[in-house]
């Protein structure tokens, strides 16, 4: 029971991070129907931007309040990551709209390889550890031998995720930008005829997705305290799995899928084998796509001629 509660907390934390990344996949897929393969690497880039910004703030500028530093890091990382994602869309995906089916996908794979190797060249191939940031924990249960703890950073991750998702939901449901975006998802040509700037909307979709990935990147850095150039691939695939599991194109689905994947991964590691935890995630991806391509909350896809 104790272990179960502890793993539940850990799983929800990890799931929040996956959910934030998954939204980027699901929004882009919803609007232009492509798998943005480079999104995982955008996440990794954001972790590095956070790392650099954090070091700059704490060691060079001498900010001692860790919460102030994290807040600034979050904003800075969101800005620069959004810029990166905007540029990627502009350079690598926009010219390919209307090209043959596989072209954007191949371009995205190229971009993914480029990003991870760019970071490797620019920042070096080694792990970049930061000292543990917020180490305080709340002890929830204590039976003498095993303590169930809730770390403050887990609270922060879940709270930030919840706040951001509420804001994001408001943005998509209630603002004119959100309406334009949903219109483009349903019928891009019709939306353009009705005076919506489709290119602009698509760019903004990439920017929002990247901003959420940047939040995930900062949280990841805070939680694990390490950044590595190859860290975009596996979390990226897992977040994509989350998006697929929740039903690709569905925003609540992405969050639900993220939490599920986080929980599955953590419980699998705790109760079965930690070596095969990635195999579990990859298998879920394959099984979902084969047997339930519409996911938990998605709509079945209608093929148009």
């Amino acid at each position: 029971m104790d272990v179960f509660v502890q793993q539940l907390i850990n799983g929800l934390t990890l799931g929040s991070i996956y959910g934030l990344i998954a939204i980027g996949y699901t929004m882009v897929f919803g609007i232009i129907g492509m798998v943005n393969f480079a999104h995982g690497d955008v996440f990794m880039v954001s972790a590095f931007i956070s790392l650099i910004c954090f070091l700059l703030l704490t060691t060079v500028l001498g900010i001692t309040s860790i919460f102030l530093a994290l807040a600034i890091v979050l904003v800075v990382a969101m800005f620069f990551t959004s810029l990166t994602s905007w540029a990627i869309e502009r350079v690598a995906y926009r010219p390919l709209r209307g090209s043959f089916r596989l072209a954007p996908m191949i371009s995205a794979i190229g971009m993914s390889i480029f990003l991870s190797n760019f970071v490797q060249v620019a920042q070096g191939p080694r792990n970049k550890p930061v000292p543990p940031m917020i180490t305080d924990v709340i002890v929830l249960m204590d039976n003498g031998s095993y303590q169930v703890t809730l770390a403050w950073k887990q609270v922060i991750i879940m709270a930030v995720t919840a706040v951001l998702l509420t804001g994001f939901w408001y943005l998509v449901q209630k603002t004119s930008l959100g309406r334009a975006q949903r219109a483009c998802e349903q019928d891009r040509k019709m939306a353009a005829l009705l005076g919506i700037n489709v290119d602009h909307t698509i760019s903004l979709t990439f920017v929002i997705g990247a901003a959420l990935a940047a939040v995930a990147g900062t949280m990841y850095l805070m939680y694990y305290g390490v950044a590595h150039f190859a860290d975009g691939f596996v979390p990226g695939v897992k977040a994509f799995t989350a998006a697929v599991l929740g039903g690709i194109g569905s925003l609540p689905g992405a969050v639900l899928g993220g939490l599920l994947i986080g929980l599955i991964e953590v419980f699998w590691s705790a109760y079965f084998s930690i070596e095969y935890k990635d195999v579990a995630a990859f298998s879920i991806l394959a099984i979902t796509l084969i047997f339930m391509p519409q996911g938990l909350l998605g709509r079945p896809e209608v093929e148009k001629v």
Partner: protein, 481 residues
């Protein structure tokens, strides 16, 4: 690098040299530079370094300044020349210049390339003046041919059938491990020792395992392909990627069976159809009256992989003329049309997938016998991506394009390693070979944006009336099935 449109080139600015056009270009270039600064500023401007156990920062403002300046100046020049508002855009309907060059070189091109490939070891030995001196060149030739073969194998899946397979390396791994496990297995050795002779398995393992590895990889292709081939293109890509990773993770973690991360070492070497390459009196050299030299084995390996690659090419060319090959290409162009014409798309896809996998298995078996050692490290996603990059760059579906792309990319990679003089400009820590995957990724993006059909993009029609017309790939529009 940054934004890539000629927005500034508005129609009113008729005169290219008018002050407003210039200020426009200047403004645009300024913003491009600003964006570049935002892109490279954090990641290039600061380097995280571990100093005394803690993480610190180094600063590289000069590099950032140079990169931003390049973008600014480049964009300014482009705005004033290529993207100037009164430039007449040329449209081309015929084959691309590159394709025309290949056509002009004509029927002689392919035989010449083939003759060069066959004569390559001789050329290498003569030019380097000795067997041992030519080792580097021949090893490079073997490496390039391995990738040519993998490229041709993947070309069946991606280029002909239009199925994006990101897990091709899995079949390469299956082939390699098939040979490694069978050849080092004691029970199999004992079985043949009892049945035929003591030395039989050691001498013939490769030649028996080669077809077995191919067939086994093909069966794996079917097993993996069967459930996933109903999926649409990009889902298929992701699922094959997942399968590739699963196989690699299993190879790492199933230590009892595969040896885990340590891999399998001392795999039996290749033999000349049962005659080992060693200094004994039953060895290859003694039998042919030559002086023993370890290079004989390397040169023989070169011819083995050449033969395997040519087999792949030959089978592909023949298959394209068969109904199944036509069905592959039809499927690539429009899946819905195929289905409405009564093709069983699952079977057609499965055959392409399995055929491609089979050649991957052959190549894997060859890899194991050449290296004498396999470990999961050799079968990462990077290899899949590299093979895919070769196919994409060569022009999906073009045999000769894939071969040229493999030679250029791997040759270029080797050249990167030799660019030692660049250290004078960039400092001693500069290692050009680090940039290899970075350039691969960039090349894939550039090719997709600039020439989505690859550098050699002419399509030879498989069926034609009276005469064969070559059509530029630019004019072919694939269905969105």
């Amino acid at each position: 690098m940054a934004a890539h449109t000629a927005e500034s080139a508005s129609a009113e600015n008729a005169a290219p040299a008018s002050p407003s056009a210039f200020s426009h270009a200047l403004k645009d270039a300024f913003f491009a530079g600003l964006i570049m600064l935002g892109l490279v500023g954090p990641l290039v401007g600061f380097e995280t370094v571990i100093r005394d156990g803690a993480l610190g920062l180094d600063y590289r403002p000069l590099t950032v300044a140079v990169m931003v300046a390049i973008v600014f100046v480049g964009r300014l020049i482009l705005n004033l020349t290529v993207w100037s508002p009164n430039r007449v855009v040329k449209t081309r309907t015929g084959p691309s210049p590159m394709a025309r060059a290949v056509t002009a070189a004509g029927p002689a091109f392919k035989p010449a390339l083939l003759a060069f490939a066959v004569a390559f070891p001789l050329i290498a030995v003569l030019s380097q003046g000795g067997l041992n001196e030519s080792r580097y060149l021949i090893d490079l030739g073997i490496l390039i041919l391995t990738y040519v073969m993998l490229g041709w194998g993947l070309n069946i899946v991606v280029g002909l059938a239009g199925l994006l397979d990101l897990g091709y390396v899995a079949f390469y791994a299956v082939g390699a491990y098939t040979y490694a496990l069978l050849a080092t297995s004691a029970p199999v050795n004992d079985f043949f020792a009892a049945l035929i002779g003591e030395k039989f398995w050691a001498d013939w393992a490769f030649w028996i395992c080669l077809p077995a590895a191919g067939i086994f990889a093909g069966v794996w292709g079917m097993i993996l392909g069967f459930p996933v081939l109903r999926l649409r293109g990009d889902y298929l890509a992701i699922v094959t990627l997942a399968f590739g990773e699963i196989i690699r993770l299993v190879l790492i973690n199933w230590v009892d069976f595969t040896g885990g991360g340590a891999g399998i070492a001392s795999i039996p070497r290749v033999t000349f159809f049962g005659i080992p390459f060693n200094a004994s009196e039953h060895g290859f050299a003694a039998l042919f009256g030559l002086k023993f030299d370890p290079m004989h084995r390397i040169i023989f390996l070169y011819f083995v992989i050449l033969a395997l690659a040519l087999l792949t090419a030959f089978v592909t060319v023949r298959l394209r003329k068969l109904p199944v090959g036509r069905a592959w290409e039809a499927l690539r162009e429009d899946e819905i049309a195929c289905r409405s014409l009564g093709l069983n798309t699952t079977n057609v896809k499965l055959s392409a997938f399995a055929t491609g996998a089979m050649f991957g298995g052959f190549a894997g078996c060859f890899f194991a016998v050449r290296a004498g050692f396999v470990s999961p490290e050799s079968f990462t996603f990077d290899i899949s991506a590299m093979i895919l990059a070769i196919v994409v760059l060569g022009g999906m579906g073009s045999q000769i394009g894939v071969a040229v792309a493999a030679a250029v990319m791997l040759g270029g990679m080797e050249m990167l390693r030799n660019l030692g003089f660049l250290k004078q400009f960039f400092g001693n820590e500069f290692d050009p070979s680090l940039y290899r995957m970075l350039l691969f990724g960039l090349a894939m993006v550039v090719i997709m944006v600039w020439k989505p059909r690859g550098l050699v993009s002419t399509r030879d029609p498989t069926i034609y009336l009276k005469e064969k017309k070559s059509v530029s790939g630019d004019l072919v529009k694939e269905g969105h099935g």
